[in-house]
């Protein structure tokens, strides 16, 4: 009996539903945990903000400081502040930065494109390089070449970003003059920071991808393909690549989180505006609203990416799709546990993610 459209819709909802709830919960929980953490931050945000303007003339008179605090509304109970901020955030108002007086939403909107440009370029460069190196290692007939190629990525993971950034600036900016050393005014300014970040990103992706490729290479369909006489290149592109996609896509989701953190160092070294930079400044200045705003935005981006990754599993690997339509037939354990429940997608997706994490 073919599943009716209503059954299909029901399955999709049952599949997506928990995911969306999970998504919303993670965002809310991140907001709450961050709120609690940063409200225990010692130090005075008012003084921090004043010192940015005041230099050595900053006032330290207690009476004046108390008046300023009241002016900025930094009184009121924790619960009141929490609810107030949360409701405003839902409306899209992320508050005002105490340090700069700017709306936080504006600051984030200004910095996000810069960070995104570097992050996306880094991801593209890293992934492409990793795929190319894997392909060359896969097809190369010489063992020494394969061994050499396989040694490169660990270097990428181990090199501290601040070191590689400084070296790249010295060589390619001041030495050869090919790229600007800093700032976002020149569009070429994105290249060196992206290369700096592409090293660790590419290396991590390589480790997962090459492991998946090796595993796919051992699969029976490859054996058949070789027996059929297909060229190595065809085998790689048609069979191996497709079957290595699952863990690779998984690690992409995790890499977004990594990139969000890595930009702090890169933006410092290259004097660029960006999410990492305003975060470091905000933590130093105890600028709670900015920290909140940044964490929410990053958590949102991360969760959206992971949601997309989860949804893409169904496209890439039909085996992870929940059985569309029809009642549960109770066919029992058919190889993988709980294969017939909507949670199957979730479990095997998590399993895939865990596998990728172990192998990374």
């Amino acid at each position: 009996m073919a599943p009716s459209p209503r059954d299909r819709l029901g399955t999709v909802v049952r599949y997506l539903g928990p995911k969306l709830v999970q998504f919303a919960f993670v965002i809310w929980a991140t907001y709450t945990v961050t709120f609690l953490l940063i409200h225990f931050l010692p130090g005075d945000p008012v003084l921090a903000a004043l010192s940015l303007k005041g230099g050595d003339a900053t006032t330290t008179d207690p009476a004046e400081l108390a008046a300023l605090r009241a002016q900025y509304g930094l009184d009121g109970s924790l619960w009141q502040q929490y609810i107030g901020h949360f409701l405003s955030a839902l409306r899209g108002d992320l508050g005002v930065s105490i340090a700069t007086g700017q709306p936080v939403a504006d600051m984030v909107a200004r910095a996000l494109p810069n960070t995104a440009a570097v992050a996306v370029l880094a991801l593209v460069l890293g992934v492409v390089t990793a795929v190319v190196i894997t392909f060359l290692a896969f097809v190369s007939p010489w063992r020494w070449l394969r061994q050499t190629l396989l040694q490169i990525p660990p270097l990428g993971v181990a090199t501290p970003a601040f070191l590689s950034g400084l070296v790249l600036v010295s060589v390619f900016s001041f030495g050869l003059g090919w790229f600007p050393s800093s700032g976002s005014r020149n569009p070429l300014g994105v290249v060196l920071p992206a290369i700096t970040l592409a090293l660790p990103v590419g290396a991590i992706f390589f480790q997962v991808f090459s492991a998946a490729v090796l595993e796919a290479m051992a699969g029976p369909y490859v054996f058949t393909a070789v027996a059929k006489g297909l060229s190595t290149r065809t085998i790689f592109l048609r069979h191996v690549l497709r079957n290595s996609l699952l863990p690779s896509v998984t690690i992409l989701g995790l890499l977004i989180g990594y990139l969000a953190g890595g930009t702090a160092v890169v933006e410092t070294v290259f004097s660029r505006d960006g999410i990492g930079r305003i975060t470091v400044d905000a933590v130093l200045a105890r600028d709670t609203n900015v920290i909140q705003g940044v964490v929410i935005v990053v958590a949102l981006v991360y969760s959206v990416v992971n949601l997309l990754v989860d949804l893409s599993y169904g496209v890439i690997d039909p085996r992870t799709r929940p059985a569309l339509g029809g009642r549960r037939t109770g066919t029992g354990r058919a190889g993988s546990p709980q294969a017939d429940s909507p949670q199957a997608g979730a479990t095997s997706v998590d399993a895939a993610r865990d596998k990728a994490v172990i192998e990374s």
Partner: protein
């Protein structure tokens, strides 16, 4: 009559030992041993006092007296690197310990008990992973005060998420395995199952990940020091050394590059050994 060739010494060894004695692993082992020696016995290896400088000897390039050259206050960089090993590696080690203890514990409870508790704990872990680890570390450090141990705590919490996930998935896998089902029917209680089946099987991936995370933790601790969140001066933590030398990249490159290379070498070595433990070749 065919003569059988005497296989070479290398080929006669069991495969595990052969891997262990390969040049890459030997080198990695040596580096890790050297790092450990620097951590435990800095005084024996360092050539000068890392905190005293001679003004006349400032900014000298590496030479016979000062193996890594001197910094802008005339202090011997090699001795500072040696003494900094403790701060960097102990912080990183603590971070991994924090991550393993917090994460593995959470993952164990979550996977073992299952149900609603599992769901809640896993969502909490999702949050831990969603907040970028450097951000989490920054917030923890700002809350607890700057210094190597708050950095370790912050980095460790950031890593706890991965450990929790791994532990939980292993626990779930073993818990549902058939031999456990068999043991249950034989009347073995859950605590027994926990210790004789679940922990040993779950342990191996966790240890492998811990070894890998050590490298990451070293980098994270150095990065935070670089951004100014680490130990107070004049403590020579490696990231702080790279940071301190970055004004001199054009005139005295060794101040940043040499400590950075040391970080690189140690992390590479640790990762190589970690892959060995994990069964990778």
């Amino acid at each position: 009559m065919s003569t059988t060739e005497q296989p070479s010494l290398a080929r006669r060894l069991p495969p595990a030992l052969r891997t262990a004695l390969s040049p890459g692993v030997l080198l990695a082992g040596l580096i890790v041993l050297a790092a450990l020696a620097m951590t435990l016995l800095p005084g024996a290896i360092a050539t000068h006092d890392p905190y005293t400088g001679i003004a006349a000897d400032r900014l000298l390039a590496p030479n016979a007296t000062y193996l890594f050259g001197t910094d802008h206050l005339g202090r011997d960089l090699f001795s500072r690197v040696v003494h900094g090993a403790f701060l960097s590696l102990a912080s990183a080690g603590t971070a991994v310990l924090v991550g393993v203890i917090v994460g593995a514990l959470l993952g164990l409870i979550s996977g073992f008990v299952g149900g609603t508790l599992d769901f809640i704990v896993m969502r909490f872990i999702d949050v831990l992973i969603a907040v970028p680890s450097i951000l989490l570390a920054l917030i923890v450090v700002a809350t607890l005060g700057f210094g190597p141990w708050s950095v370790a705590l912050g980095v460790g919490l950031g890593a706890a998420g991965s450990f929790a996930r791994i532990m939980r998935s292993q626990v779930v896998r073993v818990r549902n395995a058939e031999y456990v089902e068999a043991a249950r029917t034989l009347g073995v209680r859950w605590p027994g199952i926990l210790f004789s089946h679940i922990l040993p099987n779950a342990g191996r991936p966790v240890i492998a990940l811990a070894a890998l995370e050590l490298g990451t933790a070293i980098l994270a601790v150095s990065a935070l020091s670089f951004l100014g969140f680490g130990a107070q001066p004049p403590e020579p933590e490696w990231g702080a050394l790279v940071s301190g030398g970055r004004d001199y990249v054009a005139t005295a490159w060794w101040l940043s590059i040499l400590p950075g290379v040391v970080v690189l070498a140690v992390v590479l070595a640790v990762n190589r050994l970690a892959r060995l433990i994990g069964g990778d070749r």
